[in-house]
């Protein structure tokens, strides 16, 4: 039986797609929201140290299925590896209603004005496709505000003198600081830095009918047991469904986007939860599967008019895959700093996001924010072993007893230089459970990321020393392919169709009823967790999309 034609199909119910579905449904369009994963709730907070989105040693807990969804990863030596979702090289984000927002740490960063004008600020960078966004911070500002108020953000960035202008404060106050916060804040001030309370998509007080955070230790990587963490699964998606205009189909795997003989898209073909192939036709298709899967879907949607995939006329789909190299330092104190209060992270500085010394000490480059790390469970802390401490035996045990409650980590994401050859392709041989060609990942980071990483780590170390750490050590930065949960960049937004995939409204250049709305469109990825920016772009693009459709399509 044919499925009823709708105005819009949205593929992926994460940070981007959940918002698009809600905005279109409330504007009166009929929407089908297709999600390959399941719909988890607060009751799915398993509090499992070994099986969560941050520590998936016994499997990941928010999808996709370990055995049905392989990827191929090509390492820097050119060797191919078949990866499962819980393997690091897989770059898993999540596959569930809410996407990464169901289990994230929930930092809610607005990118800075310069983050949208990276090439204008720093010039061309050899070996990188660094460019400006076609939109500015000012274009997104109202939509950042909308995300902060609709999804719900707590925090206080008034003391962040580097922040970009905002018209409205955050809707909720910050959570009270933990012991790390109390130690780090005066130290930053003594150093002349500008510490402030991290904006978080987490209720510090009851908000939107849900409870406040109860400060437990199962935070980043877990569903929130009291539903105080705000993602699209507990905000805009229920709103979208309540309009009566939106149908959510979870556990449905989209195989390809269908096109007609004139080169417009006419819907999607997908496998439903019982692996039956279905077709959902629509006036427009919005791809919101996150940077890696969105690129895969476009590349897998081949036809006579689009022999290399949709939007890929100039071979830009899947290029410029970015994420964040994390850098930082650990300080050990001669007093206890662990107080068992989640979410742990609470204090940050943006003093080093821009204007740092770049490669060879020449020129200036971007950096990243620095913040104290999320609360860590004991198995995670095993990895905080300083250089020189044996990894096993009596010395290991002594290390754990001595330092678990006396260590602070200060970490930050390096704003990466986009690399044309860091990319998502579809593998010519390997297919998933449904017979769909899988993702093939290859590439590496730009050498400038290393320079910035070392610089930021030294600043983290200095902060910890000022706070009274008796010893400190720094993390070394990964050089391989970026991606992971902060994945972005693979369907770049731009004005020139030859060097980008979508226009400034997230519409694919040569297909006027196909959109990509998620982190894929980020030209650069900021020195911040990208979730709030993905949300702001989704509100911004949906607003334009709904306006352009008004009068032509009512609810059907």
């Amino acid at each position: 039986m044919a499925l009823k034609h709708v105005n819009a199909v949205v593929v992926g119910a994460g940070a981007g797609g959940g918002i698009v579905a809600k905005e279109l449904a409330t504007a009166g369009l009929s929407v089908v929201l297709v999600e390959r994963g399941k719909w988890y709730t607060a009751f799915d907070c398993r509090k499992d140290d070994l099986r969560n989105q941050r520590t998936p040693v016994l499997g990941n807990s928010f999808g996709p299925d370990e055995d049905r969804n392989p990827r191929v990863f090509v390492d820097e030596q050119g060797h191919e590896h078949l990866m499962k979702p819980s393997d690091g090289g897989y770059s898993n984000n999540a596959a569930c209603v809410g996407g990464g927002t169901a289990s994230y740490g929930a930092m809610a960063w607005r990118y800075m004005e310069k983050d949208f004008r990276m090439r204008s600020t720093y010039g061309t960078v050899a070996g990188s496709t660094l460019d400006d966004w076609p939109i500015t911070y000012n274009d997104l500002e109202p939509y950042y505000e909308k995300a902060e108020w609709e999804i719900g953000v707590s925090g206080d960035d008034a003391n962040n003198v580097f922040r970009s202008p905002r018209r409205r404060p955050l809707p909720m106050p910050p959570l009270p600081g933990n012991r790390e916060y109390e130690v780090l804040k005066p130290a930053a001030q003594r150093l002349g830095l500008h510490p402030f309370d991290i904006p978080m998509l987490r209720n510090s007080v009851p908000y939107n009918g849900r409870a406040a955070c109860m400060r437990c230790r199962w935070c980043v990587g877990f569903a929130c047991e009291v539903d105080a963490k705000n993602g699209t699964q507990n905000t805009v998606i229920p709103t979208a469904l309540a309009t009566g205009n939106c149908e959510l189909r979870s556990e449905c795997i989209v195989k390809e986007i269908l096109t007609d003989s004139r080169g417009r898209v006419k819907g999607v073909a997908y496998f439903d939860s019982e692996s039956r192939l279905r077709e959902q036709t629509a006036d427009l298709v919005v791809v919101s599967g996150s940077a890696i899967e969105s690129a895969r879907l476009l590349l897998n949607s081949k036809s006579r008019l689009f022999p290399t995939g949709l939007g890929n006329r100039y071979d830009w789909v899947g290029r410029n895959l970015q994420g964040h190299a994390y850098t930082g330092a650990v300080g050990r104190f001669d007093f206890e700093v662990y107080d068992d209060l989640g979410p742990g992270a609470g204090i940050a500085i943006c003093d080093f996001n821009h204007g740092n010394r770049g490669l060879n000490g020449e020129g200036l480059t971007s950096g990243g924010m620095l913040a104290n790390e999320f609360i860590r469970l004991p198995y995670q802390f095993v990895g905080w072993r300083p250089p020189g401490v044996p990894r096993w035996g009596r010395a290991h045990k002594e290390f754990m007893r001595q330092w678990y409650r006396r260590s602070i980590g200060v970490m930050g994401p390096v704003q990466e230089m986009p690399m044309f050859d860091s990319r998502v392709q579809v593998d010519p041989k390997v297919k998933d459970y449904w017979g769909i060609p899988v993702v093939r990942l290859s590439g590496h980071r730009h050498p400038n990321d290393q320079v910035v990483g070392k610089f930021l780590a030294s600043k983290a170390e200095a902060w910890l020393q000022e706070a009274g750490a008796i010893t400190t050590w720094t993390f070394s930065l990964a050089t391989g392919l970026s991606g992971g949960q902060h994945q972005a960049g693979t369907c770049r937004m731009g004005d020139d169709p030859k060097i980008s995939v979508v226009d400034k409204y997230c519409r694919v250049h040569d297909v006027d009823n196909l959109y990509v709305i998620d982190g894929s469109v980020h030209v650069t990825n900021g020195g911040f967790n990208p979730a709030l920016t993905i949300m702001a772009v989704a509100y911004y693009a949906s607003d334009n999309l709904a306006k352009s459709r008004k009068g032509t399509h009512g609810a059907s």
Binding site: D49, L50, V57, P176, C216, L341, P378, W392, G393, Y404
Partner: protein, 181 residues
């Protein structure tokens, strides 16, 4: 008790008459001896008492079943190395010699003929990581008996939900109501 629970678990990949799911009696004994050097007992329990062997055995019939060959070959290679170097199986070695063999494995310098199927340093890295998982991870997976590692680190166990246990002595949180009548 652990063994009895394992035998009754009905997972059905037990090897012969072993009470374990995957491991043989001898393999489990060797594994316990190795794990107890990775996290030795001192004033706090070690890996063996905490149930790390049970954790590994259970996962080898679950999410880590792809590592079965690594364990089978690796444990055999430990004993082969031990006999080649010291003329006895690993469980019979005195402490310093056992530690010496683990160090050789860690550095990839264990007798080469014993490690043709799996590298000694890779197997040792696997053992260290999974011993840590079994010792520090959630007891539901078969290790960390009685939350022993969490107690060792001073984490409340059983875990207390939320922040209430801090409110009573945190000055920044206002106290409402009277404590006693």
């Amino acid at each position: 008790m652990v063994a009895a629970a394992a035998a009754g678990s009905g997972i059905g990949c037990s090897a012969g008459r072993s009470p374990w799911r995957f491991l043989s009696v001898d393999e489990a004994r060797s594994l316990a001896a190795i794990c107890d050097l990775i996290i030795p007992p001192d004033e706090d329990p070690g890996a063996a008492w905490a149930g790390v062997v049970n954790y590994i055995d259970r996962q080898l019939c679950g999410p880590l079943r792809h590592l079965r060959n690594s364990y089978r070959q690796g444990i055999a290679a430990v004993d082969t190395s031990s006999r080649a170097l010291y003329g006895a199986n690993f469980v019979a070695l005195a402490g310093p010699r056992a530690i010496e063999l683990l160090r050789l494995m860690e550095q990839g310098q264990a007798p080469r003929e014993a490690w043709k199927q799996i590298s000694s340093s890779e197997f040792f890295a696997l053992l260290v990581d999974q011993t840590m998982q079994g010792f520090y991870g959630d007891p539901r997976h078969g290790g960390n008996r009685e939350g022993t590692s969490w107690k060792m680190l001073g984490m409340p166990y059983p875990p207390i939900r939320g922040r209430l246990h801090y409110d009573v002595n945190t000055a920044s949180v206002p106290v409402v109501g009277s404590k006693v009548k």
